[in-house]
């Protein structure tokens, strides 16, 4: 089982490296691709000029609806960035309005139960409260779970990893039927940027190992455990400097954007561009693409751009 999976990943990596991936991964038929039931021809949706909730509503519609990702009776994990004891206007944590909306949409699509947590860097209670996310999740009927209880983490092997061969992973990330990753886009001193890939550091117990061993490599390798089914990248208020915690609101730029994609590498490539970076300069993006986690060729991907400006 492991072996075949590894082989598949190697195949995927070589295809990406060979530049063949886009056409093959989307199937043999050339564009325009007709959406099959439960599928979408769109690789990435980018929405701008609305409130975080409006952006999400328009974005998920353009991506084929939440029903594409969440089926009736499924358990869902919504994983925002709640790492910091900061308020929404400081944009260190995912916008709470957006998180609440994602939880509500999962329920509307028939989810049995929607959980939300982060292994916060600051004290969990402060982060959950001051970010406004705990309130927003509860208002939408979701359940806040704790990320600071080590007994809820299980050791798992990371198939095909060179550095992060094993990790203690939160049981909700492993056990929920559906994982929706809802990061916020920020500059990042250690990772260079944080978005979908970096956000998954919040479902593991021992982050120091990542920093100590090879941060870029660990970020790239972790999704080999499991990839989120959907990524929603909050780029409404973007910390373009001094990330990930920020010094003051001077570090922020109001972009009023949001990206949605099942492909975390693709969405991070778009995020890098929003930050004004060359995606090729973010080491973990290249590594993740080579591991077959996703694709970096944004220019060849089917991107749907939506503006809500009236």
């Amino acid at each position: 089982m492991d072996f075949t999976r590894k082989d598949f990943l190697k195949l995927g990596a070589s295809l990406v490296a060979g530049g063949l991936a886009p056409s093959l991964l989307r199937g043999a038929s050339p564009a325009p691709v007709r959406a099959r039931p439960g599928q979408s021809a769109v690789d990435l949706v980018a929405v701008r000029d609305g409130s975080p909730a409006q952006l999400f509503d328009a974005g998920i519609r353009a991506l084929g609806g939440m029903g594409r990702f969440v089926k009736k009776g499924q358990s869902v994990l919504v994983k925002p960035n709640i790492g910091w004891s900061k308020t929404p206007s400081e944009a260190a944590d995912t916008n709470p309005e957006l998180v609440g909306r994602v939880v509500a949409a999962a329920y509307a699509a028939g989810a049995k139960k929607v959980y939300c947590f982060d292994h916060s860097v600051n004290r969990e209670e402060d982060c959950y409260r001051r970010s406004g996310i705990a309130q927003a999740v509860r208002d939408s009927g979701g359940e806040m779970a704790s990320g600071e209880d080590q007994s809820q983490y299980r050791p798992v092997a990371v198939p095909g990893a060179q550095v992060l061969k094993e990790a203690l992973v939160h049981e909700l990330y492993l056990d929920c039927d559906v994982v929706i990753n809802v990061p916020i886009l920020k500059s990042h001193g250690g990772g260079r940027m944080t978005a979908a890939l970096k956000n998954l550091m919040g479902v593991v117990w021992d982050r120091r190992f990542w920093h100590r061993s090879d941060l870029q490599r660990c970020i790239a390798e972790f999704p080999l455990v499991r990839k989120p089914d959907l990524n929603v990248l909050d780029a409404y208020l973007v910390m373009v400097e001094h990330g990930p915690i920020g010094v003051s609101t001077e570090d922020l730029q109001a972009k009023k954007m949001q990206m949605l994609s099942p492909d975390m590498v693709l969405i991070d490539t778009a995020g890098a561009k929003v930050l004004g970076y060359d995606p090729g300069n973010i080491p973990y993006l290249k590594m993740a693409a080579e591991l077959g986690i996703g694709r970096m060729d944004l220019e060849r991907a089917a991107v749907k751009r939506v503006s809500l400006k009236s």
């Binding site: 250690g190 870029q216 373009v240 010094v247 561009k273």
Partner: protein, 432 residues
């Protein structure tokens, strides 16, 4: 009926004291009122002729307390004091088991000696009276529960707390209110005040044990014993202060502690700040700071860090050892200075991205600058507040690459500056 009212009152005040001790969000006036009911911490600011904020109000509460004692007896001891309550409960349990009681022996010399020692420590600007007074010792008893809850440390103050707990639970099984009638300096002070009151004044004797034994004039022998005890106690305190209580530099003292010497002089080691610290970075020190620093709170940055948006410890400090600052001011309070050891730092010695320290720095005192193919941390000392977030986060082994050196005196850092003025990406439209 009187007994029931008394028990109810004692129980309510016990709950109040627990709320003040463990309640991080306790309103400051409520905490200040509670602290003011304890003569020793409250009057400890007098030798500085500088009263803590609200100090005049605190003095008014003390004056009121002494006046009530003069007029009506030791109502504080009987109706409020949690230490008295614990002893009463123990005695009630013993009585239910049919165990007989004896009055605690009246050792007037010892009592006056303890009171004089406590007063002398206070006037000599030493907080060593905390080993004698009931407030600090009760704090250490509450601290036991906290230490058990968070898993230690089980050091010097834990041992003292345990001894005091045994004293107020075991001895009253035989001798009701043994601590009140033998050691408590506040109790002795109240007793003296009662003796000054003209006999027959209202309610004299209405308050129950141990006040009964306090009424009546002292014999010549008692007076001599009291005087000898007072001289010996004060002399011992002066000697201890001069010889044993030299501050030794060690560790980072809590925010609001100003300078090490001042902090040592005022801190009661009552553990109130330790119990409310949300990140549990505050721990009672062991003996590494000498006797003067033993049991007093220190920040352990290998265990946790000082939360940026928090001033819980300086909100609860009863003795003025920690000056109060609102959160916005405390955010600039510099407890120490971060020091970088490049030879242990992952980007500098292994050329790999890390940034664990920069990521958690709340003031922008650490920035990442290009270093070969990676980015390495660079300190901007003007902005460092010594909160220890970097030291706590640093993943380097076996030695951390960044640590906080304690500041001899606390000061204020520059106001953090966001934005660097570098060119920013265009805000309009998708860049892809």
């Amino acid at each position: 009926m009187t007994v029931r009212i008394r028990l109810l009152s004692q129980a309510l005040f016990l709950a109040f004291s627990l709320y003040v001790f463990f309640g991080g969000g306790v309103p400051r006036p409520a905490a200040a009122f509670y602290h003011a009911l304890h003569v020793f911490p409250t009057l400890s600011a007098l030798p500085w002729v500088m009263l803590p904020p609200g100090g005049v109000a605190a003095l008014a509460v003390v004056a009121g307390l002494l006046l009530v004692t003069f007029l009506a007896g030791r109502l504080y001891c009987s109706y409020l004091c949690p230490v008295g309550f614990f002893q009463d409960l123990a005695r009630r349990a013993a009585r239910a088991l049919g165990w007989g009681a004896r009055p605690a022996p009246a050792r007037i010399g010892l009592r006056l000696g303890v009171l004089a020692a406590a007063a002398a420590f206070m006037l000599l600007r030493s907080s060593a009276y905390n080993y004698l007074d009931h407030f600090s010792n009760l704090g250490r008893v509450y601290g036991l529960a906290h230490a058990l809850h968070v898993g230690g440390p089980f050091g010097w103050d834990f041992a003292l707390g345990l001894i005091f707990l045994l004293m107020i639970v075991l001895l009253p099984l035989r001798w009701p209110r043994w601590f009140c009638a033998t050691l408590c300096p506040s109790g002795t002070l109240f007793m003296l005040i009662r003796k000054l009151a003209p006999s027959g004044i209202w309610a004299a004797g209405a308050a129950p044990r141990p006040e009964e034994s306090d009424s009546g004039r002292m014999s010549r022998q008692e007076l001599l014993g009291a005087a000898a005890g007072a001289v010996l106690g004060a002399g011992a305190a002066a000697g201890i202060k001069a010889r044993l209580l030299k501050p030794v530099p060690d560790g980072v003292i809590p925010p609001g502690g100003r300078a090490r010497e001042q902090f040592y002089e005022r801190c009661l080691a009552c553990d109130a700040c330790v119990a409310v610290c949300p990140t549990q970075v505050l721990v009672p020190a062991g003996m590494q700071g000498g006797l003067a620093g033993a049991g007093k709170a220190r920040l352990d940055y290998d265990r946790s860090y000082c939360a940026y948006e928090c001033n819980a410890c300086l909100s609860v400090c009863p003795s003025g050892a920690l000056s109060y600052f609102p959160v916005e001011t405390k955010k600039l309070l510099r407890l120490g200075n971060a020091v970088l050891r490049r030879e242990s730092c992952i980007p500098y010695c292994r050329q790999r991205d890390c940034g664990a320290c920069q990521e958690v720095c709340p003031t922008g005192a650490i920035v990442m600058e290009p270093f070969r193919a990676t980015f390495g941390p660079v300190l901007r000392p003007d902005y460092c507040i010594g909160c220890g977030a970097c030291q706590f986060a640093c993943p380097a082994r076996p030695r951390k690459a960044i640590f906080v050196e304690p500041a001899p005196a606390q000061s204020f850092a520059f106001t953090p500056q966001g934005g660097s003025g570098r060119a920013r990406p265009a805000a309009e439209g998708f860049p892809f």
